[in-house]
Symmetry: C2
Subunit: 312 residues, 2 copies
């Protein structure tokens, strides 16, 4: 299957990144948005990303450590080639079509990547609304982190051409793409999406079956939870627990540094939703309380300037 025209639905944090990255790698990209207001909110995001792409590439001229895995195949790129790539960023930015028109966005697209809100009713409404506009050939991917594709596949009317393609934040740098089908996803569509992910500079991680949380979060959540439990139980302090992990495994970041990046609100939502947290004497409830206290003080993580550590 030959993918050339792609449509990204939703201009949020990831939608805008997926759009620019795909355009940068040579695909014709349409970004479908729900309203004119949404278009106005998306433009500055794309402009900001263009600046990051340009700066990251320019920095690579003098500093191999500035290498972003999604932008070039290696850190070793001649200066003239970098200038070409910077021009390509500008062309990509200019070339993205932003539209609220469903016929324009979906009438001749090979691949749709849906990155709208994580609300089942909105997913339902979206897939139902585009069903009759889409060409028969079009493959549909959801970038959903928390909803399983099998729960959405019937909305699409084409479960054999529907799967999940899950990106990490800052995709020009953290270039993994978890590819996860349902029991009904066809092999051809799955392979086409793996190839597409590779073509836009991602490292595809192939899941053979559905797994809530995909691969990374399936490991990260129990790991972070065990660290949170050590803290909530008063076994050791934040710095000591992080040191045990970084010194013991050689990892660059301990669990509380990772939690500051993930954001304490996300961590709180995960633990507070667990059945165990309903018992106020449980470890889960103590973890939730500990996170809640920091969140109430505005210490929600690195983006707020403070979480478990201060970044001011």
């Amino acid at each position: 299957m030959d993918i050339q025209n792609i449509t990204v639905a939703g201009g949020g944090v990831l939608g805008s990144q997926i759009a620019l990255q795909s355009a940068y790698k040579g695909f014709a990209v349409t970004l479908w948005l729900r309203s004119e207001g949404s278009i106005e909110r998306t433009r500055p995001k794309l402009e900001r990303l263009r600046g990051i792409y340009r700066q990251s590439l320019a920095a690579l001229k003098t500093d191999p450590k500035a290498w972003c895995r999604g932008l070039t195949d290696s850190a070793d790129v001649p200066a003239e080639k970098i200038d070409e790539l910077i021009a390509r960023v500008d062309a990509a930015f200019e070339g993205i079509v932003l539209t609220t028109d469903a016929a324009e966005a979906f009438g001749d697209t090979d691949l749709v990547i849906e990155a709208i809100a994580e609300v089942m009713d909105e997913k339902d409404a979206f897939y139902t609304s585009i069903k009759d506009v889409l060409p028969e050939r079009t493959i549909l991917c959801t970038n959903s982190s928390t909803l399983l594709p099998s729960a959405m596949m019937d909305f699409t009317g084409r479960p054999e051409k529907f799967l999940a393609l899950h990106f990490a934040n800052n995709i020009w740098q953290n270039n993994t793409a978890e590819v996860m089908g349902t029991a009904k996803t066809g092999e051809e569509s799955y392979r086409a999406v793996v190839d597409f992910a590779r073509a836009i500079g991602m490292i595809p991680l192939e899941l053979k079956k559905e797994q809530p949380g995909y691969l990374l979060n399936s490991m990260l959540v129990p790991f972070l939870n065990s660290a949170e439990a050590l803290l909530a139980n008063g076994v050791a302090d934040v710095e000591t627990i992080d040191a045990a992990w970084t010194l013991g495994t050689g990892a660059p970041l301990g669990p509380f540094r990772i939690l500051d990046i993930v954001g304490l609100t996300t961590a709180y939502n995960i633990v507070a939703a667990s059945p165990a947290a309903q018992d106020p004497d449980s470890v889960a409830a103590r973890i939730a309380a500990l996170l809640k206290q920091r969140i109430d003080e505005g210490k929600t993580g690195i983006n707020a300037g403070e979480g478990f550590y201060s970044y001011r």
Copy 2:
């Protein structure tokens, strides 16, 4: 409390490392062994370690990456200083007293580090046997990985001077020492052991209360278990799961590389002992079966040349 004379009980993998490391850092070290046969088995271990210490130091003259955190404070050491340190390794090796005589080993010691077999009856017999020989001032530490100090403290007759000091393997390199008291451990003894750990080149990790598995294993076990579950459930293959972790978190090793280092037999023993594994349909039972199959093929990890990966 001034610690000068230390006694290590047991000449196994860690006992011999703790003895040489403490002697290298200037302490008077006696290594107590149960029998003449045990002395004969311990000498070659100490000789091998002497070779590793000498080689690691010599390599540092030309290669900063050869730095072992337990041997020098930094990678930047002048060549003459390194020659001095190599001479110190030899002096340390020569100076260790190996004895089966309890009076000689324990009659005038400031600190005992017990590193004998992980069998409660043997711990009981050991602590009971030295009780009447020890000076009143002596602090006792267990290096036990799997038994809690509170379960042993009554054998010692001095629970206020008894705690756990838990080393990682290859302590000249992996220089963390988890310090964990019981509810009865006195503050003075705890501080003295933290200071001692630092004095022998370790980074002390202070636990404020008892925790089975200490800090590192409390996080490592659920993390590795989640990765094993992904494999046992057929969600993805070994390489993909490892890539999800290393690319997603920047860690140098994925869970299956770590399992190869830990050893599949240890991982099997942990999961097979869990109550969940008794149900043959459980994920734990499937993980156990998967590990058992590899173990039966001789693929027990990096030391065997093959585990989840091949190292031949």
